[in-house]
């Protein structure tokens, strides 16, 4: 028995010692990012998750990349571009001697394949090439795009990754849009390329030896999957990861107080808005809504009565940014604070409604004729922040005699009431709702389009229609001069602020946290100087500047003894003790009388 005890302890020790080696990673500089969700398959034809975009933006370049300073167009695959005087032909010159990560040359054929085959057949990239009529590739370094009509998105807004034709072109479109999963390594043009995708565990990205640009300081980037946001936060605290790309708003303040952890709060191209149902009789003959919601004075009064700063403080724990019109501050090249910004002013709100003839009834709710200012306010079950924002809006509006009845419903139900059709026309059935939208990294067209007449039946959910706004939209979309375009965009914003189909409450934040003892050269980019640290979903450029601090990197690789050694020694000792105890008991019972059969 003593031999057995010794064996148990020995086995535990051997097992423990086996765990002690630090692994084969010594000396390798690894940048570890944690996340609670992971990409679907990394196939850009069919995937739609933001996690896919995080990886794609590191793995592949665009024809014209986004500047990390102001998100404007900078050379990507293309070195330069020229717009013809008629603005309907754009010629891109590619960099010479550019190579994919497998050593094959990057040519105009890759660009043609990406714009002609990949984008139109993909789930999310098709709309970016709508304006292209045809593509010529006179030589391997020249791409000529012929447009149906002038479209400024072709430079700076052509958000289509350029894929290697020699890899993706081997597969049929049917396969690529079916269950095809990309082979590893994911041949790319970005600073790091995916070499391993272990579902539920890790995505490994290694330095691209042919990347045209400064080499990344890390040998490897790892994206590590955890069960949920809490687990990622713990991993950061424990030093298992260096970077948390999506800190939960409720934990943001707490995370920032931890030792060796710094947080980043940056504006994103997404916002949360209070939307009004403005569908008119012509577009939606069967729509259902309280007519009061279509009175612009009522909407303006509500805008004055809603304290957006308070919504940010209470509902979003001060992690968001107060909204100022349709375009978030993120759009550095086009953003300007609108003149009609509706600062919190309850007296002015009351004054507007009084002047418009809305009088308070016995229940405190204003009415004019048959129109009582009592609105349904729909909000998604899935978003506790939106629910709290809705309750705050209802509470604030009460002060001006406007009632909001908050209705919490599933995302499907909210989608249904905002998109349903009757007799072939839109038939929205709501007064107001709170939800959000997200735009592209540079070009504002995606967000501006939400309020156009042509978006009704598509992404429009306020059903706003204004010919002047529509005209300006077309004009800005065809204006290649950023300064002139900004002027046009400002005019559109002014109209939307006057008519208020949306009251943008807050701009959603990018909340990140990193280990300051493990990560150096962290800069606020995309756009500088207040953007995020890794230009998430925009470009892989920051991955070439982030680096491990020398001292910390050395300390990190020291490894040290595994705690398992102690745990397993403890288990071994415990087993030995139990065995010894049992042995003692058996010996004792051997001296006991023999059992009698009864």
């Amino acid at each position: 028995m003593r031999r057995l005890c010794a064996l148990a302890v020995g086995a535990a020790l051997a097992f423990a010692l086996a765990a002690a080696p630090a692994g084969a990673q010594e000396g390798k500089k690894v940048f570890r990012i944690g996340w609670g969700q992971e990409p679907q398959t990394l196939n850009p034809f069919i995937d739609e998750d933001e996690e896919d975009f995080v990886v794609w933006s590191i793995n592949w370049r665009l024809l014209a990349d986004f500047s990390t300073k102001d998100l404007g167009p900078v050379p990507g695959i293309a070195q330069s571009w020229q717009v013809a005087p008629d603005k309907k032909t754009v010629t891109f010159k590619l960099f010479a001697n550019q190579k994919w990560s497998d050593g094959q040359p990057i040519t105009s054929a890759d660009v043609k394949y990406s714009l002609e085959t990949f984008a139109p057949n993909s789930l999310l990239f098709g709309s970016y090439v709508d304006a292209i009529a045809s593509i010529d590739t006179p030589d391997p370094l020249t791409v000529v795009l012929h447009l149906k009509s002038p479209d400024a998105r072709i430079v700076g807004g052509l958000f289509v990754y350029i894929l290697p034709e020699h890899v993706w072109g081997k597969q049929s479109v049917k396969s690529l849009t079916g269950s095809y999963k990309p082979k590893m390594p994911l041949v790319g043009s970005g600073p790091y390329v995916v070499t391993q995708f272990q579902r539920g565990r890790i995505i490994r990205m290694e330095r691209n030896p042919y990347y045209r640009g400064p080499k990344g300081r890390f040998d490897e980037v790892q994206l590590i999957k955890y069960g949920n946001a809490d687990a990622v936060e713990r991993a950061l605290r424990l030093g298992e990861i260096d970077f948390d790309r999506e800190v939960d708003p409720s934990a943001f303040a707490r995370v920032g107080k931890q030792r060796n952890i710094k947080t980043i709060q940056a504006p994103s191209p997404s916002f949360t808005q209070l939307a009004f149902n403005l569908c008119n009789e012509r577009n939606c003959p069967d729509a259902k809504f309280n007519p009061g919601v279509q009175d612009s004075v009522v909407r303006q009064a509500i805008a004055y009565a809603v304290d957006r700063n308070r919504i940010n403080q209470i509902a979003n724990r001060s992690t968001s940014f107060v909204g100022h019109g349709l375009l978030p501050q993120f759009y550095k090249s086009f953003y300007a604070k609108p003149a009609d910004d509706y600062p919190y002013d309850v007296a002015k709100a009351n004054q507007l409604l009084d002047a418009a003839g809305y009088a308070r009834g016995g229940d405190g709710i204003r009415a004019k004729g048959d129109t009582k200012l009592s609105f349904d306010l729909a909000v998604r079950t899935e978003s506790p922040f939106n629910i709290q924002a809705a309750r705050l809006v209802a509470e604030m509006a009460k002060r001006i005699g406007v009632e909001f009845k908050v209705q919490i419903m599933s995302v499907d139900k909210l989608t249904e009431i905002t998109t349903q059709k009757k007799r072939g026309k839109m038939a929205p059935d709501f007064d107001t709702f709170i939800w959000g939208w997200g735009g592209d990294p540079y070009d504002p067209s995606l967000l501006l389009n939400l309020l156009t007449t042509k978006a009704i039946g598509g992404s429009s959910d306020s059903f706003y229609s204004n010919p002047e706004y529509d005209r300006l939209y077309e004009e800005q979309a065809s204006e290649f001069d950023p300064a002139k375009r900004k002027q046009l965009v400002s005019q559109m914003i002014a109209i939307s602020q006057r008519d208020l189909p949306y009251l943008v409450l807050t701009v959603d934040p990018v909340l990140q946290a990193y280990r300051s003892d493990r990560l150096a050269n962290v800069q606020r980019l995309c756009p500088a100087p207040n953007g995020d640290a890794i230009c998430e979903q925009v470009t892989g450029a920051p991955f070439t500047t982030l680096s491990p601090p020398l001292a910390a990197a050395a300390a990190k690789d020291e490894g040290g003894g595994s705690p398992l050694v102690f745990v397993l020694i403890g288990i071994g000792v415990l087993i030995a003790a139990v065995l010894a105890f049992t042995l003692r008991r058996r010996r004792k019972s051997a001296d006991e009388p023999v059992e009698l059969e009864v």
Binding site: F15, A18, A19, P21, G23, A24, Q25, R32, Q40, T41, N43, I46, E48, L123, L124, F125, G126, S127, Y128, T177, S179, Y180, K181, R199, G200, R201, I202, R204, Q222, I224, Y226, G227, N228, A231, R234, A235, L238, E240, I241, V411, D412, T415, G438, G439, N449, L450, G458, S459, P563, L564, F566, V567, L568, R585, S589, E592, P593, E595, L596, V598
Partner: protein, 322 residues
């Protein structure tokens, strides 16, 4: 008699399974359409969304979807995950061993420790040891498993950082040998297994204690003691085997509770088993994956119940003559 009995049990199990299959299909449809969120992506064209719905079969009437689902399930085709585009069987086959490892070790440990503590408490009824063990077991029985898991993480991974807080291996680590790999897995297994064990322990303890208390008051125990047998031998050789019967049943029925608890435990510990697969599938409204995982859970619970019946049949002669 035996054959008829077994055939009856199997028929009842099959009927239950069919009911579960039907119920699962309609239950998950209540969650809504997985393509709904795409309507909020302004980049996604309506035609592309329609094409995606067609590829998922969601454009068919509900009964048509149900017919497809039943037909595929009968031929053991669980379909393709709407999220990962992998066959659901492959995903389940990949996750199942991790779950079995966690549940297997956790269940064995909880049965052994629970039964052992139950015997101790019953033989020392009314003493401080009994009260202490009873209090401890009621505490672990009543405490939600996610709370226990978080507590263990806070103590052993954060306050006293001696164990990893999650995952099944150290992320990104490359191993020189399988032994090193196994040791790393073992290290990561400790906290989740401890949580599963604590989650199940209380019930096994309470059942064993109550069963032992009953058996120890039986006449045959008094007779055994009267023959001069030492108390420990009476307990070990005569009381414990008789008291174990209810434990067999409860162990099988318990599997249903394990399934529910696993989803939260695996999520908390980022353990890549069926629980985490289910959690992700719920978030993504991945119907084929949800139907697949719940089918596996259901088959597991039903099979365990049939097994418990069979064991009972073998162990308890009264069942055979009933």
């Amino acid at each position: 008699m035996t054959f008829r009995w077994l055939a009856g049990k199997l028929a009842a199990a099959l009927l239950t399974l069919v009911f579960v299959l039907i119920f699962n299909f309609f239950l998950f449809r209540v969650m809504g359409d997985p393509t709904t969120q795409l309507a909020r992506l302004p980049r996604a064209a309506p035609e592309e969304i329609a094409s995606l719905r067609h590829s998922y079969g969601l454009d068919k009437p509900l009964l048509g979807q149900f017919a497809d689902y039943m037909g595929d399930t009968v031929t053991l085709d669980l379909g393709i995950s709407q999220r990962t585009r992998e066959p659901v069987w492959n995903e389940i086959a990949h996750a199942l061993p991790w779950t079995l490892l966690l549940v297997g070790i956790g269940t064995v440990l909880s049965v052994l420790i629970g039964a052992w503590l139950g015997v101790i408490a019953a033989t020392r009824r009314g003493t401080r040891s009994d009260s202490g063990l009873l209090g401890f077991s009621l505490f672990t029985y009543a405490a939600p498993e996610y709370w226990l898991g978080i507590l263990l993480i806070l103590v052993f991974a954060v306050a006293i950082p001696i164990l990893p807080a999650g995952q099944q291996v150290t992320p990104g680590k490359e191993f020189d040998s399988w032994l090193a790999h196994a040791a790393d897995v073992a290290e990561h297994l400790i906290l989740p297994v401890a949580t599963v064990t604590l989650m199940l322990l209380g019930q096994f303890f309470l059942i064993m204690r109550s069963s032992m208390v009953d058996v120890l008051t039986e006449d045959f125990i008094t007779v055994k003691r009267a023959t001069g047998l030492p108390w420990e031998r009476v307990v070990r050789r005569h009381a414990v085997p008789n008291a174990l019967l209810p434990l067999v049943t409860i162990s099988a029925i318990q599997l249903g509770a394990v399934v529910g608890g696993l989803i939260t435990i695996e999520t908390i510990f980022s353990w890549p088993g069926l629980g985490e697969l289910t959690y992700t599938a719920i978030n993504d409204k991945d119907f084929p994956m949800l139907e697949g995982t719940f089918l596996v859970y259901s088959v597991g619970v039903i099979a365990a119940n049939v097994l418990a019946d069979c064991l009972y049949f073998g162990l308890d002669p009264r069942v055979q003559t009933a």
